[in-house]
Amino acid sequence: MIRTEEMLLNVGPQHPSTHGVFRIVLKIDGETIIEANPVIGYLHRGTEKLAENLQYTQIIPYTDRMDYLAAMTNNYVICHAVETMMNIEIPERADYLRVLVMELGRVASHLVWFGTYLLDIGAMSPFLYAFREREAIIGFLNEISGARLTFNYMRIGGVKWDAPEGWIEKVRDFVPYMREQLAGYHDLVTGNEIFLNRVKGVGYYSKEEALDYSLSGANLRCTGIAWDLRKDEPYSLYDRFTFNVPAFDSGDAWARYQCRMAEIEESLKIIEQAVEQFPESGEVLAKVPKIIKPPKGEAFVRIESPRGEIGCYIASEGKKEPYRLKFRRPSFYNLQILPKLLVGENISNLITILGGIDIVLGEVDG
């Protein structure tokens, strides 16, 4: 009989695999995790408190800093909440630009996830390829918004800038190139025996558990629930495009990988159609009052970000600042299931499971 002893192992808050400041206190017996306690809040910047003293347009740059890998969707959610309350109609051209930048952002975000996830579990080269393509997308977004990550591009009623000359054509040409690269990723990684052994059957949860834990995005779709707000509660122009909602039902890290890779393809489809339908000319900003004052009342809207369901709640007193602003941050909700998944796992699977959830700490901590 071997004598075993429990010990506490502190991981983080500075640990490269967390891609931010995330700490988890593990109780381990040998290499088996008995208990896991995540500690978050290291990146809490009080966005919601700050927002109570800011005008709505002034809050938009703060949203860039939540999910900094897909800031366009964050920009969109607050604009969408205010527009829903004020019943503002968005000019068509602006809406197409919004869809384009959001979908480009989604591809870029999934590329970061793909690259870093494989880096975390030991494959070096996919990271380099993924970041090469992401760099191209960031170039596009930089061209249209003037910033690489913190775009501050959307405004209530539309977008800040029209697309520069030739931008649409560049995006159109990017789609086939990206498809080609994506096929390359599949060749490189998807069928790889070592990779499959690392992810198959790891971090499994059932459909019911996923719903119970309020998971969303690929974390939900990996259990077979084909739920995507772009399809099921269409906002913006998403009802004009044909695309699928990829869902896989094995509920493990492998299914989550497949989901995200398939989502890149679907996003490319949407970009392709949006470029085709893109109106020749038109306004990019609706006629909105200079000072935005949503009517008294409250609203909660939710949209599909690359990480899942991002929501925005506004309680307005009819003033130029919100009375209360709250973001439903998908990473925050998705991370809740982690302690449950880790119990009984080997330490080496910690990173596979954590990475599979795809969190951004800026968003977890708000």
Binding site: K49, M85, S214, K296, G297, A315
Partner: protein, 419 residues
């Protein structure tokens, strides 16, 4: 002895304007009070010096004088009152005339005038009252502070009363107006009008709202009237949504007139199930939130909150298996927990809210029902300070464990040991 008063009774003066009269009366009252106070102080001094009741006659004298002054003042006030009343009457007449001509702007102006007149009247009355009270009190105690306080109080009370009365009157007038046409919309419009008269600001808001309520059918009346109706409708709807409607009757009627929301049947279903299982009064309120994509919103009472949540999760026809969002808000009068649910089985949304006493912020935790409520409830505890009964691990999540206070409370003051 400082007995000489330079104030002459106001009756003996040559006729003055109301304002002057009022000013004068006020100044006199003040002077008198001061005088009395001084006198009282002196008397006290004397008393302490002589340790005898020698100040009695003086006291009586002062009392007499004060009473006389108060009387005079009351007369003056009555005069002012009468004048104000006359003006108010004229204004009212003007208002009626305006109503006859159907000119809304004139009506509103007249009403505003009437309100102002009523206010003036009330003020005059209050002053008279205060003077009377003050005089009596001053004669008794000679305390200046008490006098001033009493005056202010009386004035404020009278003002508030008068304002309320004026508002009610305007509303009544408007209602009568509307009753003639027998149109409920007009009733709402009248209400809006009254509000507009009370506050010039409201007009601008109503206009903006009218623009929003584009779907409301324009009546065959004049342009302005249609606008006002739309404004009233929008306003009433907004009030219903915000649940700040002063009168549920008025708020509900226009809401019914509007096109029923496509999600209304859902709300009716939820309501029917909850009322069947938990009794008629299980819900505090329920409505369609028109600002928030028509989500059916249920407002639970604190003691039925958990039961309703249980029903939402487990009832065969509801099955809200997904908690999409949970957060709290400090509304200063109360705290509120807002939850957004989604049913993947039936593909329908619902919002559940509960109002919590701000002094004793305790509510049942939903974490036993939805594991996804765990961290959001911790966040609400951390930032707003709501205690969730039955939560498995209610500790701070964003702020450090030794943090003092709950930052998202509206009255939060950062705690700093060095300050």
């Amino acid at each position: 002895m400082p007995n000489e008063h330079d104030g002459t009774p106001p009756e003996s003066n040559e006729p003055l304007s109301k304002e002057e009269l009022k000013k004068r009366a006020a100044a006199e009252a003040k002077a008198k009070a001061l005088e009395l106070a001084r006198q009282r102080a002196l008397e006290k001094k004397e008393e302490s010096e002589a340790a005898a009741g020698s100040s009695e006659p003086e006291d009586a004298l002062a009392k007499e004088k004060a009473l006389a002054a108060a009387k005079a003042k009351a007369v003056a006030a009555a005069k002012a009152k009468a004048a104000a009343a006359a003006k108010a009457k004229a204004a009212r007449e003007g208002a009626t005339a305006a109503a006859g001509s159907g000119d809304e702007k004139a009506l509103a102006a007249a009403k505003a005038k009437a309100a102002a007149a009523a206010k003036a009247k009330a003020a005059a009355a209050a002053k008279a009252k205060a003077a009377r009270e003050g005089a009596t009190e001053a004669a008794g105690s000679g305390d200046e502070k008490a006098l001033a306080a009493a005056k202010a109080k009386a004035a404020a009370a009278a003002k508030a009363k008068a304002a309320a009365a004026a508002k009610a009157k305007a509303a009544r007038e408007g209602a009568t107006d509307a009753a003639g046409s027998g149109d409920e919309k007009a009733l709402a419009a009248a209400e809006a009008k009254a509000a507009a008269a009370a506050k010039a600001k409201a007009a601008a808001a109503a206009k903006a709202k009218a623009a929003r309520a584009g779907e409301s059918d324009p009546s065959d009346a004049s342009d302005e009237k249609a606008k006002a109706i739309a404004a009233a409708k929008a306003k009433a709807a907004a009030a219903a949504r915000a649940k700040a409607a002063a009168s549920a009757k008025i708020a509900e009627k226009p809401a019914e007139e509007q096109k029923p929301s496509p999600l209304q049947p859902l709300l009716d279903k939820y309501k029917a199930i909850i009322q069947k299982e938990l009794g008629e009064d299980a819900l505090e309120d329920s409505y369609i939130n028109l600002l928030s994509k028509d989500v059916p919103t249920l407002v639970a009472k604190p003691d039925t909150y958990y039961q309703i949540a249980q029903l939402l999760k487990h009832h065969e026809e509801l099955r809200f298996d997904y908690l999409s969002e949970l957060h709290a808000t400090d509304f200063e009068t109360h705290l509120e927990v807002y939850t957004h649910f989604y049913s993947y089985s039936h593909r329908c949304p619902a919002a559940l809210k509960v109002k919590i006493n701000r002094e004793d912020p305790v509510i049942d935790s939903l974490a036993p029902l939805w594991s996804g409520a765990d961290w959001p409830e911790r966040e609400a505890y951390d930032l707003i300070g709501i205690t969730f009964k039955g939560h498995p691990n209610l500790t701070r999540i964003m702020m450090p464990d030794d943090w003092v206070g709950h930052p998202l409370r509206k009255d939060y003051e950062p705690y700093d040991v060095e300050v």
